[in-house]
Symmetry: C2
Subunit: 232 residues, 2 copies
């Protein structure tokens, strides 16, 4: 009774120069139309027509309409890193670094807030290859976690050694939470999300600091044990 109804056709990697060119053309056209009309309003037929190819041709390079989004992920991930780099170079305080990287993440995604909501829906489905937890997304996910590893390692904060190894992944998880909130955030300029970041960052900072305290060590250990056993 598996619910998997995901398209079966695998997308082809271009092997010729012409193929490469066509693929790019379709992708660029799709991204433009997504921005102009939104995801749902953009039909595969429109993409094909606008790109001057047959609709079947688009499916030769991209397994489904959703697959067009994966490229988008990779793009914003790169922008996130770019936006985060200055902060990571400048700041050494843990809270400031975390705060900066979180804001940079929202900055990178901000231009797409209008239709980000629409395709986040597909990302939320566990079976979807677009899920941030899926193996297909592992590339972008690892890159994102690496960013948070830099947050930890480049900071002057003293972190419980028990916690240190897993902290980057936990921060990434917190980042996913922020993004989830951001997607639902209807306030102008998504100001509430900014407030969430500013409010949550010092709390996380304090929590991480407390983890080193002698009295709290057992709790820290217990929590880490639980988290590890829950990792899938």
């Amino acid at each position: 009774m598996s619910e998997a109804s995901v398209p079966t056709t695998a997308a082809a990697e271009p092997a010729t120069a012409k193929g490469e060119q066509t693929r790019r053309l379709i992708l660029d056209t799709a991204m433009r139309l997504f921005r102009e009309r939104g995801y749902t309003q953009t039909t595969m037929r429109a993409i094909a027509k606008e790109a001057g190819v047959a609709v079947g041709n688009a499916y030769y390079y991209f397994g489904s309409k959703e697959h067009l989004i994966q490229e988008f992920y990779a793009g914003t991930q790169v922008e996130h890193r770019a936006a985060a780099t200055p902060v990571l170079r400048r700041e050494s305080d843990f809270a400031a670094r975390l705060r900066g990287v979180l804001h940079a993440g929202i900055d990178a995604n901000a231009p797409y807030h209008a239709f980000a909501a629409t395709f986040f829906k597909t990302a939320a489905e566990p079976t979807s290859p677009l899920s941030p937890f899926s193996t297909e997304s592992s590339g972008a996910r690892e890159a994102s976690i690496a960013l948070f590893r830099e947050v930890v390692e480049g900071s002057t904060a003293k972190v419980d050694p028990e916690l240190r190894a897993d902290l980057p992944e936990l921060l990434w998880l917190a980042y996913m939470g922020v993004v989830l909130y951001w997607v639902h955030d209807r306030s102008p300029e998504q100001a509430k999300t900014r407030r969430l970041i500013d409010g949550a960052t010092p709390l996380i900072d304090r929590l991480v600091g407390l983890s080193r305290l002698r009295v709290l060590r057992p709790v820290t250990r217990e929590v880490m044990q639980l988290i590890r056993s829950l990792r899938q």
Copy 2:
């Protein structure tokens, strides 16, 4: 540039006895087919045919295929309450009550785990009326929050007064988190979700207890301030 492409046709409330009967018939048929074949595999045509009505008739009572799910929500919500009642009657310890209610929630949803994942995807979309945060879902949501209010009020735990009013909603939010984990949980019998509940409950209990401490009062207040400002 609103992405809202949700069906416009509003579902009709049955006004006659016959209408009531037809509505029930369609709903029951749909639920049965969802269980038998899963959500995606069940077509609206199949539902109509199996129920012996025209496909347009189904749309007279339910605005869209997704709307059929909303009833499902209400159903499991009732089951959740039923499963939680004995625990709430028996236990007085906060942690035990919370743990019991969370387990009851998973119990109520367990039979539908296979296809719960599929429609959780649509629930995650902010614009969707199926979102647990939407106004359309406010009925089921309020009922669910009420359950957690009972967890707090019936317990012997001393809670910071600042926190007390909002705690039920926060616990409901935690419950949403548990459900999110559960949807992604591929372990046999979703054992990991059970472990998450057992592990997280004492932590929450401890946290709530700590909130009363003199030293932590400012932090508690600060956190509550932030949460209130973020509520949408």
